[in-house]
């Protein structure tokens, strides 16, 4: 049977965007090591509600590591200590009895805090809306096997497309850069013949929107890659830069 542990939590509490926020401390007993990290927070919240206190607000939805809702800096690491693991898939067996765990929201200018651990990541949607797609209307498509794609490129495109848009890359970058996120989308589509037609236009407008949203620049810290729960490769940024330079050189504007 699994062990039960006690944890000491230091959690960022912030009522709303205007509030300046502060850490509050809680001790939680009887945490099973088979529990997920978010189930541990659920347990804390049940206790807080019962005690007549405000529960901690946090985002989570699928709890299978695929929707990208969950976040949190856990002891200074995006999604906590395990490699390629989202917060919802992190389990309490990664912690020891009497550990102190510091839990903070993503911090980036482009991700303002809404409440406690919940941040606003709509800037990512705006970047996608500016070019992260293939311009094909429903009904336009030729037969699926009409255009061949080498297995190698299909696999690479898949690896880039595995991004879940959680924002860990931004949160862990000292510059709060979104380049891993943006480059993953640019790569996914540039690697496929279907996405080639608009590749340069796409790179141009997505990078422009990225800058407008207040994300920083890349200075090769590679913290993004290290914290990415889906193992998105840094080489995507190089591919994005290539597409972007091509666009700049070829541009007639």
């Amino acid at each position: 049977m699994s062990k039960e542990i006690t944890v000491h939590l230091k959690i960022w509490r912030q009522k709303n965007r205007q509030d300046s926020g502060r850490f509050e401390e809680y001790t939680l007993n009887g945490v099973s090591q088979d529990q997920s990290f978010l189930e541990m927070l659920d347990q804390l919240n049940v206790k807080l509600v019962r005690d007549g206190k405000e529960p901690v607000a946090f985002d989570s939805d699928c709890r299978e590591g695929i929707c990208g809702s969950c976040s949190c800096m856990i002891n200074g690491q995006a999604h906590g200590p395990e490699k390629e693991t989202t917060t919802c898939q992190l389990h309490m067996r990664s912690f020891n009895d009497n550990d102190t765990i510091v839990i903070e929201p993503w911090r980036a200018r482009a991700f303002p805090v809404i409440k406690d651990l919940v941040v606003d990541r709509s800037s990512f949607d705006k970047v996608i809306a500016s070019g992260g797609f293939v311009s094909v209307n429903t009904g336009n498509a030729p037969d699926a096997s009409a255009v061949l794609v080498s297995k190698e490129n299909a696999d690479k495109a898949m690896d880039a497309a595995a991004c879940i848009g959680c924002g860990a890359c931004v949160a862990s970058c000292p510059n709060a850069s979104a380049m891993l996120f943006v480059s993953a989308k640019i790569s996914h589509l540039a690697l496929l013949p279907q996405g080639q037609v608009e590749a340069q236009k796409r790179a141009n407008s997505m990078v422009k929107t990225m800058d407008e949203m207040g994300f920083g620049n890349c200075t090769n810290h590679a913290e993004c890659e290290a914290s990415c729960p889906k193992g998105i490769d840094l080489s995507n940024i190089a591919r994005m830069n290539r597409e972007y330079f091509k666009a700049k050189i070829a541009s007639e504007e």
């Binding site: 529960p55 809404i114 809306a129 797609f133 009904g139 061949l148 080498s150 495109a157 497309a161 279907q194």
Partner: protein, 639 residues
């Protein structure tokens, strides 16, 4: 209001119905489309594909989701794949076979004409997705590859690693975001639908709560589309997302939309077993695992040995033994029930004894670890992360969990509910899957509805009906908003002692025990009275901290649980009145000598459609009779 259950199935041979219907449908000319507005609730496969396709046609779309981004809708968690009639594998697939398999798999409780259309457009979906850049798995020659799935003897399933739902949703999301950028879709994220507004008998708007500010907003349109997903979370523990809820569909039911076959739920056979009481949700392992994994339990009751220490001859590969033709690939309902039977016989495995093994040892020996890792690597990792055990080294433990709901709002062939102007897509409606959904068919249906059906049938609705101008100052909006505000106030004012989650867990327990994999009259009657009691306690003892005017997770949960507490009772009623077994609905009183689901076609070859009659009043059960002209009614056999 009359309850019109005319299915509006077009005349003519089944192969020509959809083509003929499209030709007979009214059109809205391109210049006029921009004069119409549509509300789309939900941004999963059905909602995102509908919003994108309708905006591309020129309609003005308002799209809503409760998540912080439309890309997070729960379709994203679908792993295994999507079926299509392409027959790229030259193994005998066809539109007809996909149609036939789906009707049979659904245990003859779906409408033939709808299912045929689904099979017919399935190939177009793959074309569309590839054009969007969905990176389906390919062979070295660059061609698309397929895998097989439960309930089928052909390989017709397209997939993108174990993340097919994610990739299809990202494709639909990107198409949708393109229209957001072009100004044809207005996106409202972090919004919860709290009422459907019906004016002069037509669906004309929604009342929503901004989940960040608590503002109650009114939105008006010429038609409303619900693509709000299923209601599996009524069981508390399910593979659904934490936020998945029945709210929008339930509000529609209360405004006059018929709710069909609510008791048809799918309990998926390959999930990670529950480990303790702390658990908030269950995790699915793709059914594709059954292609290579072998399901077994020890022959001996209560055998507590480590699985690797149990010799071959002391293992019971029960699916292969009972169903030699389909083996481990029997449909989900059959596989789930057999797992339950083993556990009931005290042959279950693991600490809790509530699990069976899914073993890859033979596949790894046959194909090599690398091949198996390429197919299932991400699933194996996920399993290990949760259980701390490696499926490469020892068998997985699996057990069925609530996964999908075949029931939902009743719709006609045009996907319109009993409320004119209210169309329902994807899992939220009841169509196509009958009493059991085959693997890789949910993604197919969601996208068929959104990309290829609603763009035609919504035009038909606009072309045929006069849609009067109304705005949000209409008294019906005021009335709805007042009701919504009063309910919120009520939640906040109870000031009891228990959180919404505690009530939700209690409801889930009642549902799982009495309205789960195996149901009987006594248990269902007990469920109804237990739920009524729990509902009473909920309204007396609920505690919701905080206020409306802020982000308030507890308030959101309270609203969702309140709906589930009503829906659960309707599900039990539906299960009680359907005195037969079919697909996922297993009534102990109705089984074959081999414990298979025994249908009663004389009495129950129909969809049960429930009409809301008012708070605390018994709902009325109507029926839509089903005719099987092409797939003859037979006892399903997978032996």
């Amino acid at each position: 209001m009359s309850f019109d259950l005319d299915s509006k199935i077009p005349e003519g041979p089944i192969q020509e119905k959809w083509t003929k219907h499209k030709f007979d449908s009214k059109l809205v000319n391109p210049a006029n489309k921009r004069k119409y507005s549509v509300i789309v609730v939900g941004t999963g496969l059905a909602g995102a594909s509908a919003a994108a396709s309708l905006a591309e046609l020129g309609y003005n779309v308002k799209s809503f989701c409760y998540q912080d981004s439309p890309r997070r809708a729960h379709s994203i968690a679908a792993q295994g794949g999507i079926n299509a009639n392409k027959n790229y594998q030259n193994d005998g697939d066809s539109t007809w076979r996909l149609f036939y398999d789906t009707v049979k798999g659904g245990d003859y409780r779906a409408r033939e004409a709808n299912v045929y259309r689904l099979a017919e457009v399935s190939g177009n979906i793959i074309d569309q997705c590839v054009a969007q850049g969905v990176p389906f798995a390919r062979e070295y020659g660059g061609y698309l590859t397929n895998r097989s799935f439960g309930g089928a003897q052909v390989s017709r399933t397209f997939y993108a690693k174990g993340q097919t739902g994610q990739q299809l949703l990202i494709g639909a999301y990107q198409s949708m975001m393109r229209q957001v950028g072009l100004g044809k879709i207005q996106m409202y994220a972090r919004r919860e639908i709290l009422d459907i507004v019906v004016i002069d008998g037509k669906a004309r708007g929604v009342i929503v709560r901004d989940l960040v500010t608590g503002d109650i907003e009114r939105h008006v349109a010429d038609a409303v589309i619900l693509a709000s997903g299923g209601y599996g979370n009524v069981y508390f523990l399910s593979t659904n997302a934490m936020g998945s809820n029945v709210g929008a569909a339930w509000k529609a039911y209360k405004k006059g939309a018929g709710f069909a076959n609510p008791c048809f739920t799918q309990i998926h056979p390959t999930c990670i077993p529950q480990s303790g009481d702390h658990q908030a949700k269950l995790t699915l392992m793709s059914e594709s695992l059954r292609n290579d994994g072998r399901v077994w339990v020890p022959k001996e009751k209560g055998d507590k040995r480590h699985p690797n220490d149990i010799p071959e001859e002391e293992r019971d590969y029960y699916l292969e033994r009972i169903y030699p033709a389909f083996g481990n690939l029997v449909p989900r309902d059959v596989a789930s029930r057999q797992a339950k039977f083993r556990v009931d016989e005290n042959k279950g495995v693991g600490n809790t004894g509530v699990a069976v093994y899914l073993d890859f040892a033979e596949a790894i020996k046959r194909d090599g670890r690398d091949t198996i890792a390429a197919k299932y690597g991400n699933l194996f990792e996920m399993y290990q992360r949760i259980t701390d055990e490696s499926p490469y080294e020892q068998p997985m433990r699996i057990y069925p969990a609530v996964h999908y709901t075949m029931g939902g709002l009743w719709v006609d062939y045009n996907l319109q509910s009993t409320i004119p102007g209210l169309h329902v897509l994807g899992e939220a409606n009841f169509s196509d899957h009958g009493a059991n959904r085959l693997g890789a068919s949910a993604l197919m249906q969601g996208l068929a509805d959104g990309y290829f059906v609603i763009p035609y049938t919504l035009g038909h609705y606009f072309g045929k009906n006069e849609i009067k101008k109304v705005d949000t100052t209409h008294p019906e909006f005021q009335k709805s908003e007042d009701e919504v505000r009063a309910r919120t106030k009520k939640f906040l004012g109870i000031n009891g002692s228990r959180s919404a989650d505690e009530f939700h867990r209690a409801l889930g327990k009642i549902m799982w025990e009495n309205v789960g994999m195996s149901r009987n009259e006594q248990g269902l009657k007990k469920a109804i009275s237990d739920i009524q009691q729990l509902r009473k306690e909920f309204w007396e003892d609920l505690r919701v901290p905080g206020t409306n005017e802020e982000l308030n997770n507890e308030l959101e949960k309270a609203g969702r649980v309140a709906d589930f507490l009503e829906l659960g009772e309707l599900m039990a009623r539906d299960a009680l009145t359907r005195e037969e077994s079919c697909g996922g609905h297993f009534r102990e009183e109705s089984q074959t000598p081999e414990n298979e689901a025994l249908r009663d076609d004389e009495k129950f070859a129909h969809s049960a459609v429930w009409e809301f009659k008012g708070e605390n009043q018994e709902p009325v059960r109507h029926r839509e009779e089903l005719k099987f002209e092409h797939v003859p009614l037979t006892q399903r056999s997978y032996k």
